[in-house]
């Protein structure tokens, strides 16, 4: 190939064998480039496109919730700077029972119904939650709700799955979560505060972790739990990383956001 272009030799001067080898070589180089492009696409581009889709989903969910709360969750006044919880709550503590949350039935597959806030992952961590754990849901919409498990606030196990790498990597930093950390879920029924009481690594076959009562899989569901599942180790999936949390508080949307996430909600 080095001698190719100097003399302007017409291509027909080459033998068929030389042509085949040249084309084969060019095809192999092309395959190499496509494989590199694929890795870049998967590790980088899928996060950009999934994050964009999830941001849009969060925005429209929060608008929907604000409308449902009769506008009380929206920015009430223009001069609200410096005060993240700028909304004026129309309910005062005591107006509702924080241990008896309102709940809703699960929506149709693929439909977003909630926003998850995890302060440990940063103030800007807001991810949509959609019904179902198929790849079509998890690849674009972030956290997927295991069908048939409890909904937020229900007695039982509100179980979610999320990617750790690629496609938004919603649970990339799952190992930073500690006992006592809060996970907030916002739906049209209010804000649910869950407190992490256990993190563990299990085999994929240990299905009891998303049972209604993971601590006693044969027993009755007695608590309002939340479970996160993601792959482990990072870049691998021979195991699953599990986070268990227990509901600690519920408040209606009209009561405003819990203090810890008030800035995230308002932004």
């Amino acid at each position: 190939m080095a001698a190719k272009q100097h003399t302007g030799t017409p291509p027909s001067s080459r033998s068929a064998g030389q042509w085949i080898i040249q084309i084969l070589g060019e095809l192999l180089i092309t395959v190499g480039f496509i494989l590199l492009l694929f890795v870049a696409w998967q590790l980088w581009w899928t996060n950009i496109s999934a994050n964009k889709a999830q941001d849009q989903a969060v925005d429209s969910l929060i608008q929907e919730f604000n409308a449902a709360a009769g506008g009380s969750g929206t920015q009430a006044a223009a001069g609200d700077s410096g005060d993240g919880a700028s909304s004026v709550p129309s309910l005062k503590p005591g107006d509702w029972d924080p241990t008896d949350p309102a709940t809703s039935a699960a929506p149709a597959y693929g439909e977003t119904f909630g926003v998850v806030y995890i302060p440990r992952f940063g103030e800007n961590y807001m991810r949509p939650t959609a019904e179902g754990t198929g790849t079509d849901v998890l690849d674009t919409l972030g956290l997927g709700h295991y069908e048939g498990t409890a909904m937020p606030g229900e007695v039982g196990n509100f179980a979610l799955a999320g990617h750790r790498q690629t496609n938004g990597a919603v649970l990339d930093r799952v190992e930073e979560l500690q006992e006592g950390d809060h996970i907030y879920v916002q739906t049209k029924d209010g804000y649910y505060t869950y407190t992490i009481y256990e993190t563990k690594i299990v085999l994929p076959s240990e299905v009891d972790v998303i049972a209604p009562n993971p601590d006693d899989p044969t027993g009755e569901a007695s608590q309002r739990l939340l479970t996160l599942t993601t792959c482990h180790p990072r870049y691998g999936d021979t195991e699953r990383y599990i986070v268990h949390a227990k509901m600690e508080n519920w408040q209606p949307l009209e009561a405003g956001a819990p203090a810890e996430i008030a800035n995230s909600v308002a932004s």
Binding site: W45, Q165, P204, T230
Partner: protein, 54 residues
């Protein structure tokens, strides 16, 4: 092969360079939009995050 394609593009050199770049971008876009999503599940970086349910 690529040399052959380049020589058969119409127009002067600058136009052929532009056409070639456009063709490359078209191929890359098709790969990212259609081919990669379809083959993603076979990639070693794509990991199952769920607990199997019945």
């Amino acid at each position: 092969m690529y040399g052959w394609i380049f020589r058969h593009l119409p127009g002067p050199l600058w136009l052929r360079i532009i056409i070639a770049l456009a063709l490359i971008l078209l191929v890359v876009w098709c790969l990212m939009e259609y081919v990669f999503p379809a083959v993603e599940q076979y990639s070693p970086f794509y990991r199952d995050v769920t607990i199997p349910t019945e």
